[in-house]
């Protein structure tokens, strides 16, 4: 089970972002996406399950509010492309849902909650490769906690959070966990 999909773990940690701060970070990212993609033309948002999906939907809703633009939004499950499959028992699959029209020729913005080793994003790039040929791929994350193990960086970051390897970062979202917050819990505190 990956740490990010355990809904109850981490409630005892230290809160680093409150609901207001999460809202402001997403608002800023939505504006940045519009800026960087010249008005959001040809953009589609793909959330990585579990918590990337509601984040992508929130971003799409924001962009709709600001520009009256209906940004297609979907989800991209990366489980079958992970490089650590053999280190865990087989996981249940998340959902892949592409907006009608697919990804060909679009600017795909991948959305995830936490950017850590970068391995999930690598898996997402592989998964995307089998679905079509986007014009460009960008990455938006709510929290960048460092410790990259691959040459991957995010284009849009909600908050840079310096952490130690042993700490665990949990993003809680209303849609999944009934509350909004980002928690960091103790040294070696595994769920």
């Amino acid at each position: 089970m990956c740490a990010a999909s355990n809904p109850v773990a981490g409630r005892d940690g230290l809160a680093v972002l409150d609901p207001e701060e999460i809202r402001r970070a997403l608002t800023r990212i939505a504006h940045e996406i519009l800026e960087r993609t010249h008005g959001g033309d040809g953009v589609i948002l793909l959330g990585i399950p579990t918590r990337g999906v509601p984040l992508a939907r929130r971003l799409a809703a924001r962009i709709g509010e600001f520009e009256g633009l209906d940004v297609p939004c979907g989800s991209l499950d990366v489980t079958m492309h992970r490089d650590d499959l053999r280190l865990h028992p087989a996981r249940a699959l998340g959902r892949t849902e592409l907006p009608p029209g697919g990804v060909d020729g679009k600017t795909v913005v991948l959305v995830d909650d936490v950017l850590f080793s970068g391995r999930t994003v690598r898996a997402a790039l592989d998964a995307l490769n089998d679905l079509g040929r986007p014009r460009a791929v960008q990455l938006a994350v709510l929290v960048d906690r460092g410790h990259r193990e691959l040459p991957i960086r995010a284009d849009y970051v909600g908050k840079n959070l310096p952490t130690s390897q042993r700490e665990v970062v949990h993003v809680l979202l209303t849609e999944v966990d009934a509350e909004d917050s980002v928690m960091i819990s103790g040294e070696g505190g595994k769920p």
């Binding site: 939907r57 079958m80 992970r82 650590d84 280190l87 996981r91 249940a92 679905l131 079509g132 999944v176």
Partner: protein, 339 residues
């Protein structure tokens, strides 16, 4: 989940629903330009077939290949089995070649169970004698759930409950079992591994199963199975959501089980007149290969209620799900934090 899939009874309700949900995700692969996933790269799957088979072998082969596993096909004809090699020695040979999974079909009931004691990898039973055929039951359950449960919506599944996230697409039945559905399995239950696996799995998933067959074609111990028994097909039809016709397995029949094929067909065959007695939403299934004109009339097999072709397509996705869940991970505890 256990390491092997020998019997449908090995699966808890949770395991079975997980397999069906996984298959539901994998079904979307068929619409994609690249119908392949890298998940089982470098793993070897052996198809060990001692009995003839078209759809099961091809279906397992397609499933393994779509997950990027290497597939070795072995059929008893033209191999050392013809020279008298035993199942155990064949198994040890496969073991030495590093098979991660062995898919076995054998004429002897219990062959898969014996094999599981001899090899390190996972054993998947693709039909052993008149015992079991669990992946057929899984694909049947998947077909039933897609056809009949999707419209009812997923019943309290694992999906996130917020209306903003739960967009119900093709996988509307996610997390659901087959609760409350009435399934009638008709015909040669005695020789049918499909019937046994289906009774076990469908009842695990909450369906009410009734066997409709002549007394001579029911096994002695049927009283201990989790299902009802009827000798009268016509009285069962109006209350069935699913009718599953079984093939009359003449190659396994060593005695006279019914007076004539014509009489069997008249009493237990599904023709257009009988099909008309089914409720409007009911579906007709057959595991194949069919004897048209014996247990199922041609106009029934080709009607819109028939799911026979769908079952074959669903076979590949369901078997992919099983292969992924058995071979995709490891039993060892997690060593790192994945985010």
């Amino acid at each position: 989940m256990k390491r092997h899939l020998i019997s449908a009874a090995d699966l808890s309700r949770g395991d079975a629903v997980l397999i069906l949900d996984t298959a539901e995700e994998l079904a979307s692969l068929a619409d994609r330009p690249i119908k392949k996933l890298p998940t089982l790269r470098g793993r070897t799957v052996v198809n060990l077939f001692y009995e003839d088979s078209t759809r099961t072998r091809i279906s397992f082969e397609a499933a393994a290949k779509r997950l990027s596993a290497d597939v070795i096909n072995f059929s008893a004809k033209g191999s050392s089995v013809a020279k008298g090699e035993s199942l155990k020695d064949t198994a040890l040979t496969l073991e030495a070649m590093g098979a991660d999974a062995v898919i076995i079909r054998h004429g002897a009931s219990g062959a898969a169970h014996r094999l599981a004691g001899w090899v390190q990898g996972s054993v998947l039973n693709a039909g052993d004698g008149t015992h079991e055929h669990p992946t057929q039951a899984l694909l049947d359950a998947f077909t039933i759930r897609r056809r009949l449960m999707a419209s009812r919506g997923g019943l309290g599944g694992i999906r996130v409950s917020s209306p903003r996230v739960s967009t119900v697409g093709a996988g509307g039945a996610r997390g659901a079992g087959l609760d409350g559905l009435r399934v009638t399995i008709v015909g040669d239950v005695l020789h049918s591994r499909v019937a046994r696996s289906n009774v076990l799995l469908l009842s695990t998933l909450g369906a009410e199963v009734t066997l409709a067959a002549p007394p001579t074609l029911l096994p002695l111990a049927v009283g201990s199975w989790p299902c009802a028994v009827s000798y009268d097909l016509d009285s069962e039809l109006p209350k069935s959501d699913v009718v599953m016709m079984l093939r009359v397995q003449q190659e396994r029949m060593t005695a006279a089980y019914f007076p004539s094929v014509r009489e069997y067909s008249r009493r237990y065959g599904l023709d257009a007149a009988r099909m008309a007695r089914l409720p409007g939403h009911a579906i007709v299934m057959h595991p194949g290969p069919m004897n048209r004109g014996v247990e199922i009339a041609a106009e029934v097999a080709d009607s819109v209620r028939s799911t026979i072709v769908e079952q074959v397509a669903n076979g590949v996705t369901t078997r992919m799900a099983v292969l992924y869940l058995l071979l995709g991970g490891t039993e060892f505890p997690a060593t790192g934090v994945a985010q």
